[in-house]
């Protein structure tokens, strides 16, 4: 009950995009917001403009070598390459990078974004084609001082709630997500702190903590070193009383911050498969060992 409520609240707050997999699980993608996408697209267009100038520069250099200009056929080839590369650059820059770099143009790479399919599968070429051929409509008005404004795309981004899909995304069934590559942390953030583990062993947990409390303890343990000590104390003091009650640590002599870290340590050491029986919990705490028969 509690967890269902918690997840509903989470769903309202977060813009995460949920994808159900056939293996009876849901996984989430954090949706990229309009600002980071605009930044990415500006970087890309700046690159396109830069490359266009580069092409013209090369052309200028080639034609200033008079020996080459004299060769009529060669100069024709240069013009052909100029126009053809402009055509490719204008219309296939995004497609090229999104196909060969698996959904990331240089701008998206810089902003840590990636295009994925809405059903969580890898992108098909057709999706990328649709996505990028519709781009001119999203870019409308096409150019203000050489840069497209993406007014239509920006307006369309709010069409479907929080997924921030521009028209091309809607037509192709794609979505842009923030890419996170979390590192695997093998040990608890509090591991190796003698005082904390001593405290945690002295705790006598009675009731299994709620999802919100568990989450809060996890987040606090992971991030407390980034907080100002006074702020950490203030946060910890606010929840000291319920934590003491839940974790059976009423009489324990310790600072609130230490209490929270120790409680978090307990979470790592209790046997979750045995939680329904409070007797076994008490035994575990009595024996003073964190690990039971597993």
């Amino acid at each position: 009950m509690q967890s269902a409520k918690a997840s509903r609240e989470r769903a309202v707050l977060d813009t995460d995009f949920e994808i159900p997999a056939p293996e009876f699980i849901l996984f989430r993608y954090p949706v990229a917001g309009p600002v980071s996408r605009l930044m990415a697209v500006l970087i890309d267009h700046a690159l396109i403009i830069g490359l266009t100038f580069l092409i013209f520069l090369i052309l200028f250099i080639v034609f200033s070598i008079s020996a080459l200009a004299a060769l009529e056929a060669l100069s024709g080839l240069v013009w052909f390459l100029l126009f053809f590369s402009l055509f490719l650059l204008n219309w296939f820059y995004f497609l090229f990078f999104e196909w060969f770099n698996r959904g990331r143009t240089p701008g998206k790479l810089a902003m840590g974004l990636r295009v994925v399919s809405v059903d969580g599968t890898s992108l098909s070429f057709m999706q990328l084609l649709v996505r990028n051929l519709v781009r001119p409509a999203d870019m409308f008005p096409m150019s203000v001082v050489m840069f497209p404004t993406y007014l239509v795309g920006g307006a369309a981004a709010f069409f479907r709630g929080r997924s921030f899909q521009r028209l091309g995304d809607l037509a192709a069934g794609t979505i842009v997500v923030r890419e996170q590559r979390p590192e695997l942390q093998l040990v608890a953030p509090t591991a190796g702190q003698e005082r904390i583990s001593e405290l945690s062993r002295a705790m006598n947990i009675r009731v299994y903590p709620s999802a919100a409390l568990t989450q809060g303890l996890n987040d606090f343990a992971a991030n407390h070193h980034r907080l100002n000590p006074a702020r950490a104390h203030e946060i910890a003091a606010a929840v000291e009383e319920p934590v003491r009650r839940y974790f059976g640590a009423r009489g324990l002599e310790c600072a609130p911050v230490e209490l929270l870290l120790a409680a978090h340590d307990v979470l790592y050491r209790i046997d979750r498969t045995e939680l329904s029986s409070s007797v076994s919990l008490r035994q575990m705490n009595a024996s003073g060992e964190g690990v039971r028969n597993s």
């Binding site: 994808i19 997999a21 293996e23 009876f24 699980i25 996984f27 009529e72 056929a73 060669l74 024709g76 080839l77 240069v78 013009w79 052909f80 390459l81 126009f83 402009l86 055509f87 204008n90 219309w91 698996r102 994925v116 969580g120 890898s122 992108l123 098909s124 070429f125 057709m126 084609l129 649709v130 519709v134 781009r135 001119p136 409509a137 409308f140 239509v152 028209l167 809607l170 037509a171 192709a172 996170q180 979390p182 695997l184 942390q185 093998l186 568990t214 989450q215 996890n218 987040d219 992971a222 979470l267 790592y268 050491r269 209790i270 046997d271 979750r272 498969t273 964190g290 690990v291 597993s294």
Partner: protein, 342 residues
């Protein structure tokens, strides 16, 4: 099992999956052995289980994020689209999908008619009535066109032809993609662009044919005209389809309709771009060449015939076959649905 033990015990499997994923993501699928693929499936399913355990047991957030990342990346590879087929795919696209789609596409018919009817009508008006052209184009512009095409044409060199191809591809194919792109805004803009091009081009051509520039125009247009003009209509049709799917989704949800129709429209646009590249080549090589008008008309006639054969006969044949197969499949499923009667 305690979370600490759980993490410790499962880590080797996660790291093995991560290592496989990195190899998959660097696009060397071919270098993976069959054993690796089997192992990948097993490791992925195990990671899925671990992910649900980690949320059921409320493991630390960073654990869940890590597993979610592993699972989502694996999922993308496991349930990938099978369309990295190279040449076979391109062959199927141009020899089956494109002609079939174009033949059956009602929007293509609408746009071809919407282009050619006003085109010839406006050409007729432009030929006979000067005020019509002035009202449409403006007097200065009209004189400019006559001036531009009246002069003696200099002989074309090979280099100039190559350069011209590049220019026409850049200009015309870019315009076609734009015509498609703006179509998503209700389809009206695509249709407007098709109609505008047809009336405008028709009027100017009509007027030029009734002016001193007639001879030059007859030597310039006929070679590449059929390909280029039809391609404009095709690009408009693709845009119209996408835009209209949103306006009239026909019993589907709008976004679903949009997605389906866009996939249907893209082949039409691609063939339009290919046609424009071919037309650009013809325009750059054939149009300025000094040869009798009849030769150029013949080349234009051949491209027209090829289009009719490719889209009309071949495409019609393909879609006939497709309909037959569908009907046969329907029959067999009906038969198997009533086992008592068979």
């Amino acid at each position: 099992m305690t979370p600490a033990k759980f993490i410790q015990r499962r880590t080797p499997a996660w790291q093995a999956l991560e290592e496989l994923l990195e190899r998959l993501e660097s696009r060397s699928e071919a270098h993976l052995s069959p054993d690796d693929f089997l192992r990948f499936g097993r490791l992925y399913r195990a990671a899925c289980t671990d992910l649900s355990l980690s949320s059921a047991w409320r493991l630390p957030r960073h654990m869940q994020l890590y597993l979610e990342d592993l699972v989502s990346r694996s999922h993308a590879h496991l349930y990938a689209y099978q369309d990295r087929g190279g040449w076979q795919q391109i062959k199927d696209f141009f020899l089956d999908r494109v002609p079939r789609t174009v033949f059956r596409d009602g929007y293509v018919r609408i746009c071809v008619l919407a282009f050619y009817l006003p085109f010839f009508f406006s050409m007729f008006l432009g030929y006979h009535s000067k005020p019509f052209v002035i009202a449409l184009v403006g007097e200065a512009q009209m004189e400019y066109y006559v001036e531009m095409h009246s002069g003696e044409r200099e002989d074309q060199t090979a280099g100039g032809a190559i350069a011209g191809t590049g220019f026409y591809v850049w200009n015309n194919a870019g315009l076609a993609i734009l015509t498609f792109g703006v179509g998503i805004l209700g389809g009206v803009l695509s249709l407007v662009m098709v109609l505008f091009n047809s009336v405008f081009l028709g009027a100017i051509l009509g007027h030029l044919l009734n002016s001193p520039a007639a001879d030059n125009i007859l030597s310039w247009i006929p070679g590449h005209g059929p390909l280029e003009l039809t391609a404009i209509a095709f690009a408009g049709a693709a845009g119209l389809r996408v835009g209209f799917s949103f306006v009239a989704p026909g019993g589907r949800r709008r976004l679903r309709a949009l997605r389906e129709e866009a996939a249907e429209a893209v082949p039409v646009l691609i063939v339009a771009v290919v046609m424009l590249i071919a037309a650009a080549f013809l325009e750059a090589t054939l149009a300025p060449a000094q040869m009798p008008h009849s030769t150029k008309f013949m080349v234009g006639g051949v491209t027209l015939l090829l289009m009719i054969m490719y889209f009309g006969l071949y495409g019609g044949f393909r879609s006939y076959i497709q309909r037959r197969t569908e009907a046969l499949e329907l029959q067999t499923t009906r038969r198997s649905a009533r086992p008592g009667y068979s």
